[in-house]
Amino acid sequence: MISKIAWKNTWFKPLNTFLSIILLTASVSIISILILLQKQFEEKFSSSMDNIDLVLGAKGSPLQLILSSVYQIDAPPGNISYTEAEVWMNKPMVESAVPLAYGDNYLGYKIVGTTENYTKHFGLKIQQGNLFAKDFEVVVGSNIAANIGLKIGDTFFGTHGDVEEGEVHDHHAYKVVGILVPSGKVADQLILTNIASVWHMHDHEHEGHAEDAHNHSAEEPHVHAEGEEHHHEEVNPHEGKEITAVLLKLRNNMAKMTWPRIIPQNTEMQAASPALEVNRLFALFGVGISALTYLAYGIMFISGISIFVALYNTLKERRYEFALLRITGATKFQLLWLVLLESIFLCTIGFILGIVFGRIGLYFLSISSQEEFKMAFDPFEFLWKEEGMLFVATLAVGIVAAIIPAIKAYSLNISKTLANA
């Protein structure tokens, strides 16, 4: 019954209630979006990083190499010689090595040439069809299949570069032979094929330039990468083929430590550690996320003040209500509880609305991030621990805001109140 009074009182003065709830909703929704974003972002980054100790690639920015090779969200820094890379791939301390050749896309989805090691490495399963066996056969990620409706048997042409509006490689069509089971990893957004397909795709371009000085161009295919300078191969005519990067899992901790130093010293390549680079990236994000979190807690603090002011202001007109409750037999503690409960109701409503609006916000954020970065967020995930903590924090704000008005109600002098009525 006390809760019924508290509930009715909450809605009896809707204007006061409204302001407090809006502020609470704003702060809770911002915080919940941030919690979800940070968690899902780190999860996506970390899950794709599993099992990769080092990435071998062209010299340049190590973060760029990691972003392009492991997450496929940046252009690669350049290409490396397959033969040179194989020297390191075949060392005994390497447990598994996944070569990658990329640089083309289909409707913005990256086409990655690799071996079946890729699927083993990331524990990917085929949902329908088979893994690529012959050249120009591809396996597509589950999101691609869902988003652009690629089916087994469909064919398409790749586009050069990493944006949709590139030069179309119309000599060969890729053919879909398999669709992957959703894994929550980068592979959901990838088109996988064998490395030879990527090479062949670009061989044809070289056939077009047959009169070029180097007549061995057919044996010297390479994968185009953003920023790569084309005269590179003329200056340094290197026998063998080129790939973009190699994902390495090592048996030996010593190698994890020393290779990043040894490889750049002795070769034209670098070895970057995903864990290190991603931590660097998170640290950068962290600053922004902390700033936003502080802002949201600031709003929550203001909503606490708003609840306090609303409750405190109505105390004067409500003291007869309290006196009335006391003369009908209510205890002092019941009055204290009534005031606290009103604040708790406000906070609970604000929290629920905040969580709902946070989800809606994340849903729209996810749509735009999917368009821009091919990265989707799940608005329906509930982080019981973090959001539970947020609920506790919201309630704490409500209780602290209500404690002084509640004590005033508790210690009300009924006789005096009634005598002065």
Partner: protein, 209 residues
């Protein structure tokens, strides 16, 4: 029934009240009159356990209410005392019916909805039970107060100036209604008032000075 002996009270060293003994058996009405400042409301608050006397005894239904601790006194007040105040106070956000039912829930932890409806019906408020108290006239509000005071079958009904804000006709109606209800519910009714219109109605009177 309610009885007092040698009750004194002081707000400060200079202002001391020595109240005449009150003795009001069940079903009877006692009118307490006196000019402003003679301690009428103070006496009523003492009888209702809202104030503690400096000396004396107050016994309601053979229970010395001064022996009760704060929590027991609150419970006892809810169950055995019905108070009707000069002004009508309500939980504004609750309906007329819920305001009456609330008193039964606070005192007995059970919602006497049927009983509340029948009392309100008796008092001619049948059509107003689902309205908010602020939508009623002052006379109607006073009757809701009476219904709330009666819902727990109190041994004692304490009424503080119940008629002062009413016109002549309504004042007499309310006063008669109260004393009839006290007989019907076998409660002791104590009316504290300076309203001269009531003096002719009741035989048992105490005048404070």
């Amino acid at each position: 029934m309610i009885k007092t002996q040698n009750v004194t009270f002081s707000y400060s060293a200079t202002q001391k009240f020595h109240f005449p003994d009150v003795d009001c058996p069940n079903g009877q009405t006692l009118l307490v009159t006196g000019n402003s400042g003679t301690g009428k409301t103070t006496l009523l608050h003492l009888l209702g356990g809202l104030l503690q006397p400096t000396a004396g005894n107050i016994t309601i239904n053979n229970q010395d209410i001064l022996q009760l601790n704060a929590a027991k006194l609150d419970a006892f007040r809810g169950q055995s005392i019905g108070m009707i105040l000069q002004k009508s106070f309500f939980i504004e956000a609750l309906s007329v019916l819920d305001n009456v039912v609330l008193a039964s829930w606070i005192a007995k932890k059970s919602k006497a909805k049927e009983k509340a409806l029948s009392i309100l019906d008796n008092l001619g408020l049948k059509d107003h039970v689902h309205k908010l108290p602020s939508q009623l006239s002052i006379g109607q509000q006073q009757r809701v107060n009476i219904a709330r005071a009666l819902i727990n079958n109190p041994s004692v009904i304490l009424a503080d100036e119940p008629t002062s804000s009413l016109d002549d006709e309504n004042a007499l109606i309310v006063a008669r209604l109260l004393s009839d209800l006290a007989k019907e519910y076998q409660s002791s009714l104590i009316i504290v008032t300076h309203d001269q219109r009531l003096k002719s109605l009741f035989n048992h009177q105490i005048t404070l000075s």
